[in-house]
């Protein structure tokens, strides 16, 4: 993939999910986009899509899947542990250390709109994180 020669992140790109997150019907191992075969720039031939998490959790062009007994350190956690956590659930109430995450601009819209908890999928996923401090588990 383009950009992998830069040392911005530790390559290969690593992402992880808890098993209950991975087993959720909302979590898609996907081969397509808008009814077409997944283009290279969107992570062909196969990528994961986790719509209630920030984009970087939806890893592209997967080459290996491991089932491990400990929570792995993902590429972004390694790059900035105070800014990127394992969960990375969309959460308008908890700011990124340097910027707010309360609002978003959708492609094609001019005004920003309020970001919804879990990107609008609270009904489906909120129970997975019941009792967890989401400020700690960002």
């Amino acid at each position: 993939m383009p950009g992998q020669k830069t040392s911005v992140l530790e390559w290969p790109y690593r992402e992880g999910l808890r098993m209950d997150e991975a087993m959720l019907p909302l979590t898609l191992l996907t081969l397509g986009l808008y009814g077409e075969v997944l283009p290279n720039q969107n992570g062909a031939p196969i990528r994961i899509v986790t719509p209630w998490k920030y984009g970087f959790k939806s890893a592209k062009s997967i080459v290996k899947i491991l089932f491990v007994d400990k929570q792995p350190v993902t590429s972004w956690m390694k790059a900035g542990p105070s800014e990127y956590g394992f969960y990375a659930n969309v959460n308008p109430e908890v700011d990124h250390p340097r910027w707010s995450q309360a609002k978003e601009r959708r492609i094609g819209e001019f005004l920003k709109r309020k970001t919804l908890m879990f990107n609008g999928y609270a009904e489906t996923v909120a129970s997975l994180y019941a009792g967890m401090d989401l400020k700690q588990n960002y």
Binding site: V8, G80, R98, S100, K103, R105, F110, K112
Partner: protein
Amino acid sequence: MSIKSINNRTQGWIKAVTFLVALIPLIKLLVGTYLDDLGANPIEKITHVTGYWTLAFLLITLTITPLKRLSGWLWLMRLRRMLGLFAFFYAVLHFSTYLVLDQFFDWDNIVKDIVKRPYITIGFSAFVLLIPLAMTSNDAMIRRLGGKRWKTLHSVIYLCAIAGVVHFCWLVKKDLTIPIIFSILLGLLLGVRFFFRILDARKRKLNAHRLAQHQKKSPTLIL
């Protein structure tokens, strides 16, 4: 006519060409907006491009004085004001993009941003500090303030440039390459001034010493 001392007509031409070249980033943005060719997040793109050129023009402005000294091209000084004003021009566009396109006058959020986000606090401060510099970048204001006071006021540009570069360093997600390049360039521009200052101080000391020596040898000169 040598490159050191070019006539007024040529200077006018150089100024006009510089003016047009300095508008290229804006023209490219306008064309990109018109053609819908600014990527998936046009507003972010506009913010980044105007911010980048604000810093670039600040650094270019700071290059003029040392370059004049090294090259002896006095006419360079006649470009300095315009380049500084272009830095301010792009800063105004950058701030307006944030105010209108990004936040759409959400004052609550803007105040919160300025207070809470260090990169916005420092960037906003740099912008505010540029305002008096832009307002006094004309002959009338130089006359009113007097050269010395005007010069003191305008040394604030160093602060603005440092704050601007820090603003850039603090906002990038991970790839610090371009902010570091800007930092190094600014470091060089400030360093060369420091070097010239030491050089001048030494020269003054040496001259004073020579004068004293001379006076000792020929006391009749003192009248």
